[in-house]
């Protein structure tokens, strides 16, 4: 009856996609949506509360920060950094992690050993520390934030996917594919990849949420994009200093980061439930 694929009928997937799409649209149309220039300072109207609170002004719907900049506009522009990092960095991490995982799991032997030990070395750095150290080495800026996240988080994909590839590679149909003369490349891309794809997509969605958090952390400590580009973490760091002057300024960016990450996590959870073959199999049994 219903011709839609199962994953599109899942409430979780739709909710997650909805949240993510909304934030993405806000980021895309930031110049049209933002009521003010996000960097314009109004030093006579600093720490204004939101428009609905006492003393608020309608010009600044969510109030102003320590330099009298429009909080709503900064949040809207901040979505650009968050979404760019989420999409690009997680794709990069996925690409490196997935390729290495398939190489390691499929070929096994010393290649697997080498990749496994590399992951071990990486995992002995707490992710935040490694990304911070990388940012020190690379220098600040959007491109380097993305690079740092890719270089830190590829292990998340590699570790989990390798185990999956290992299982799939042992299946009979993979051996059969090799027997009828499929090349390694063709076996991996046509026979193994389709089986690992659901896990890969799920991990990708979760990684996007992680990337949003890591960017916020890095910009919180001032090691992300430059000071002239509005970013959520930066707004939080600023508001933390003036917490008694305007607690509102802390509430909004926290809420926005939470909603965005929740969107990615709900999407990932929904995809895992609908795409994971093993999960549907146990339900049927």
């Amino acid at each position: 009856m219903n011709t839609w694929p199962a994953w599109l009928r899942s409430g979780r997937v739709l909710l997650g996609l909805g949240i993510v799409a909304l934030v993405a649209l806000i980021a895309l149309f930031a110049p049209l949506l933002a009521p003010n220039d996000p960097n314009e300072q109004n030093l006579i109207s600093t720490f204004l509360p939101p428009a609905w609170a006492k003393g608020g002004e309608t010009v600044f719907p969510l109030g102003t920060d320590s330099l009298g900049r429009c909080v709503l506009s900064r949040l809207i522009y901040g979505a650009r950094i968050a979404m760019t990092v989420a999409l690009v960095a997680s794709f990069g991490a996925m690409l490196i992690g997935a390729v290495l995982a398939h190489v390691a799991g499929y070929f096994g032997g010393w290649v697997d050993w080498l990749i496994g030990r590399t992951v071990d070395v990486w995992m002995s750095f707490p992710p935040v520390i490694l990304s911070l150290i990388l940012m020190v080495g690379l220098g600040t800026g959007l491109r380097n934030v993305i690079l740092a996240i890719v270089l830190v988080d590829w292990t998340r994909f590699c570790r989990v996917l390798r185990a999956e590839v290992l299982v799939v590679t042992r299946r009979d149909y993979v051996a059969a594919a090799r027997l009828i003369g499929f090349s390694h490349w063709r076996t991996v891309t046509r026979e193994i990849l389709p089986a690992t794809m659901p896990l890969l997509i799920t991990l990708l969605s979760l990684e996007m949420g992680i990337a949003v958090i890591v960017e916020a952390i890095l910009s919180f400590v001032g090691m992300s994009v430059g000071a002239t580009t509005p970013a959520w973490g930066q707004m939080i760091a600023d508001a933390r200093q003036y917490i008694y002057d305007s607690p509102w300024n802390l509430v909004f960016p926290i809420l926005l980061i939470f909603i965005t990450v929740l969107g990615f996590n709900v999407l990932g959870d929904g995809l895992r439930r609908t795409l994971d073959v093993r999960l549907t199999e146990t339900k049927r049994a």
Binding site: S124, V136, V221, I236, F258
Partner: protein
């Protein structure tokens, strides 16, 4: 018992090898930095010749590999160099901040473990009932809040709005910090000052809870799914036939078998949690390793960044080694070497 020791020894050996690779990696990354450590460790009016002498003194004119060996040699002798910014020995700086971070991490891990196991049992308990979606949604919401957002949220709620708990530093003004072991909670008890102990603990509640709550949902989920796995085993079915109460089955048979994967995950989580202290410390102005690191990053204080980075790795590797060894000791299935 005889087969356990070689396994543990092997694990320790691997960790030591990893540590050497990690230190080399760290050294290489930080050499990308476009600043001259020699110029930075001298007053701004130093002449080029003076900088050149300093460069030679610091070994910066040698090839990268030799520089690494020099640094490694110093580190192995306990010489972590001198901070460019603080003009103090890095070893002393780490020594005075590391205990604070360890204390915070241990308290947070205790909270994460308690919440995680309680939550996991609850999620398992409500499986297949109308309450299940609520528990599921709850765990996703928890999973979406990283430690630093919890930290800020707690500051707003308990610190600013309700004014229940302090949220900066480790002790209220007016207390003179005793130094015996460096671990504040321990020291306040050792010098017989319960009032100061209470004050220090109060300062740790919010940061420790922020960290603990953030790391609990993963533990909950793993405990729940391993309990579900265990309950599909024949032995559970069998003890149920023998007429044991559900409560007894859960504690004596279910939990006993499901706890191992959970403990192993908690070890991995503890490593992440230790990294998570960085931001929590910054948010709560908690004088630990994290604040030292962030200050060093802002000042491009190379000797500190290098050594603190290495310290984090040593702690994480130690935790992982201990947990892996415990896993071997606790799990009889792994003993056949």
């Amino acid at each position: 018992m005889t087969s356990i020791l070689p396994l543990v020894a092997r694990r320790i050996l691997i960790s030591v090898v990893i540590l050497f690779v990690v230190s080399a990696l760290l050294f290489c990354i930080l050499r990308l930095l476009p600043v001259d450590p020699a110029a930075m460790s001298l007053p701004p009016n130093a002449t080029l010749a003076e900088i050149e002498v300093k460069r030679h003194e610091m070994g910066l004119d040698q090839p990268l590999f030799r520089q690494y060996l020099i640094w490694l040699g110093q580190v192995l002798h306990g010489d972590f160099g001198t901070s460019i910014h603080f003009r103090r020995g890095v070893a002393g700086l780490i020594g005075s901040t590391l205990p604070a971070t360890i204390e915070l991490a241990l308290l947070a891990m205790l909270i994460a473990g308690t919440l995680g196991i309680a939550g996991g049992l609850f999620m398992f308990h409500v499986r297949g009932t109308p309450k299940e979606p609520i528990a599921d949604t709850g765990s996703i919401v928890l999973l979406s809040l990283p430690e630093f957002l919890w930290g800020l949220f707690f500051i707003l709620l308990f610190g600013v709005a309700l004014e229940l708990l302090p949220f900066t530093g480790r002790l209220s003004a007016g207390f003179q910090r005793p130094v015996v072991t460096g671990f504040l909670l321990l020291d306040t008890l050792l010098v017989g000052r319960p009032d100061m102990f209470a004050n220090a603990l109060k300062h740790m509640i919010l940061p420790a809870f922020a960290l603990g709550i953030a790391f609990s949902p993963t533990i909950m989920r793993v405990l729940r799914s391993s309990l579900i796995d265990v309950y599909q085993e024949d032995y559970i079915h069998q003890v149920r036939l023998r007429g044991l109460s559900e409560r007894r089955i859960l504690i004596r048979h279910g939990l006993k078998n499901a706890i191992l994967p959970t403990l192993s995950l908690m070890g991995v989580q503890f490593g992440f949690l230790f990294g998570g202290t960085l931001l929590i410390e910054v948010i709560y102005s908690y004088p630990g390793l994290g604040n030292l690191m962030v200050d060093a990053v802002r000042n491009a204080d190379l000797p500190i960044i290098q050594s603190v980075g290495l310290t984090y790795c040593v702690v994480v590797l130690t935790i992982n080694t201990v947990v892996d060894s415990l896993y071997v000791i606790l799990n009889p299935k792994l003993r056949i070497a």
